[in-house]
């Protein structure tokens, strides 16, 4: 028996979500008095995984898997789980993690709980806490199958170091032509830009900014803070900003440490999508805006005056605390 974690890498390096998933999976392994195995695809240096509690690494090196391929990855994860007799498989909730988790669940005839935010309440019966109703509630779910698949919410568990010396084993899954029937033709990804999914800080603008020409100060704040930029639904619907920046119930979820909302009133659908952010700041000239009820810190004021001033002060702060 063991716990298996899929540790996602990009250009050979582990993403923070992967290390969080490993930290979390170690917690489950300890609760079940067993060891933690990680599966990696074309990762360069797997020693980092030991720091987060991984006991054994199944390292897949395969040119055919250079591009992410959901079917092939899910098949490999299934084979790894069988080899390790894993009773629990943990994935993080990146776009790729969410893509393969249900395929892994199908492959292993396992129950799948997504958006899990804490270690199991108990491992027998196996019960986990997850978000539901787009962060408007929590749901305690019991997984009743022999094998369990867990999708860990971003930034819910954090990184936990627990030194293990991970042994590394080359792993060659048996892949067939059937694993490669969906093919990636091209990838369009902004390099050197922080993504909403991975950002520690997200700076977001709403209709209060009056037009796309006024986003310079939002981008400037994001630059200063090393943050991702986002927007409310009306802003993306009006085409001021791309859909990929829309956060909220039907857009992307935000689970960053800090979320700064500028000129966003705080409709219930927007708040649902950003509720998992740890600290929320709102800047709005309307003191009655619902966002003030959901925020930790608020500034009642004109964004066009407050934001440029705040940017100057943040620059000074960053210069001092660099």
């Amino acid at each position: 028996m063991s716990v298996l974690v899929y540790t996602e890498s990009e250009d050979g390096k582990f993403k923070k979500g992967a290390l969080e998933a490993a930290s979390y999976a170690k917690g489950i392994a300890e609760a079940m008095s067993t060891s933690l195995t990680a599966i990696t695809f074309n990762a360069q240096d797997t020693s980092e995984l030991g720091t987060y509690g991984v006991d054994k690494v199944l390292s897949v090196s395969n040119d055919k898997l250079k591009n992410f391929n959901a079917e092939a990855y899910a098949d490999a994860i299934k084979q790894a789980a069988e080899k390790e007799a894993s009773k629990v498989v943990v994935l993080d909730q990146s776009a790729n993690g969410k893509y393969i988790a249900p395929l892994v669940a199908f492959n292993l005839e396992a129950g799948y709980a997504s958006n899990v935010v804490a270690l199991p309440e108990s491992t027998s019966p196996f019960q986990v806490k997850r978000t539901a109703f787009t962060n408007k509630a929590f749901n305690f779910t019991e997984i009743t199958t022999d094998v369990k698949v867990i999708g860990l919410s971003k930034n819910a568990f954090g990184l936990k170091e627990s030194e293990s010396a991970a042994t590394v084993e080359a792993f060659e899954p048996q892949l067939s032509a059937e694993d490669f029937t969906v093919n990636v033709d091209s990838v369009d990804k902004a390099k050197d830009k922080v993504t909403i999914a991975d950002a520690e800080i997200v700076v977001s603008g709403g209709r209060g900014l009056k037009g796309p020409e006024n986003w310079g100060m939002i981008e400037e704040m994001a630059d200063i803070l090393g943050a991702a930029t986002a927007c409310s639904k009306p802003v993306s619907d009006m085409g001021w900003r791309p859909h990929s920046e829309h956060v909220g119930q039907t857009g992307k979820p935000v689970a960053s440490n800090l979320y700064i909302a500028v000129g966003i009133s705080g409709a219930i659908q927007h708040l649902a999508g950003i509720n998992a952010a740890k600290t929320k700041v709102v800047i709005n000239n309307d003191p009655e805006a619902p966002f003030f009820k959901a925020a930790d810190y608020g500034v009642v004021g004109d964004a066009f005056e407050v934001v440029p001033k705040l940017n100057e002060k943040l620059k000074e702060f960053k210069a001092k605390n660099a």
Binding site: P102, F138, E142, D188
Partner: protein
């Protein structure tokens, strides 16, 4: 081309979420139900395939009779036939198993699901269904074209998007971007009248079992009072973020 659109019947996005029976059940009292938004983008894209490429569009839901108004609305938007699998499912695994039987019997070329329902947010039905049908699967799909038996899809990834090709049959997990918000159709009177006469077939379930069990629910702890900072004293905000919240 035969298209099946899977429709989840969910509380309106503005609904207040409450629970009953010792926090074990969602309280539907006073709640307005709608087509799951992620499914509605897919349904509208299916209408485009119907109008431009002569596709037939069936819709399906796994649920009790209370979901029929939602199915009628989808018929009023333009779907041809509705199917309701008559059981109250416990989880996405059970939904996928029930769907798989009807879907495989119907020999659909394209099955459109939403990436997740906005109530339980399971995010598993399209992937598990694709696995059961041995069909190709593309998740978080924000663009879809079909030519012959080839699909070209755009998938949202973290920080960008990618273009994929796959042959039919295909299952997608769709979302906004498949069509624009402004393309969503509000049923007109003619559509509503026609929908009354369109077939809504009730199918008995296979008795598939769930793999998970929602034991209880909990609402988030109430939020503390917001700390207001004077716009003339933004140093205080930076101080709070640095020393109190420790996020910068």
């Amino acid at each position: 081309m035969k298209i099946l659109v899977c429709i989840s019947h969910v509380p309106d996005t503005t609904s207040k979420i409450n629970f009953t029976d010792g926090d074990s059940k969602f309280d539907t009292n006073g709640v307005q139900f709608v087509i799951n938004p992620n499914d509605e983008f897919g349904l509208t894209r299916a209408m485009w395939f119907k109008e431009k490429q002569g596709a037939t569009v069936d819709i399906i839901n796994v649920g009790g009779p209370e979901t029929e108004p939602t199915l009628r609305k989808a018929l009023a938007i333009g779907a041809d036939t509705a199917i309701r699998i008559n059981t109250a499912p416990k989880d996405g695994f059970q939904v996928a198993k029930e769907l798989a039987k009807v879907a495989s019997e119907g020999n659909y070329d394209l099955i459109i699901c939403g990436r997740e329902s906005i109530d339980y947010n399971g995010g598993m039905v399209p992937g598990i269904l694709a696995g059961m049908l041995k069909a190709n699967f593309i998740n978080t799909c924000i663009g879809l074209e079909i030519e012959g038996d080839k699909a070209t899809a755009i998938r949202e990834i973290d920080g960008g998007k990618e273009t994929l090709t796959a042959s039919l049959p295909l299952v997608i997990g769709g979302q906004k971007g498949l069509v624009e918000e402004s393309d969503l159709k509000i049923p007109n009177m003619r559509g509503i009248m026609q929908a009354r006469k369109k077939p809504l077939n009730v199918v008995e379930p296979t008795g598939a079992e769930a793999a998970t069990n929602a034991v209880k629910f909990e609402k988030p702890a109430p939020k503390g009072e917001v700390k207001l900072v004077d716009p003339e004293n933004l140093d205080q905000l930076i101080d709070l973020l640095h020393n109190e919240a420790k996020v910068i």
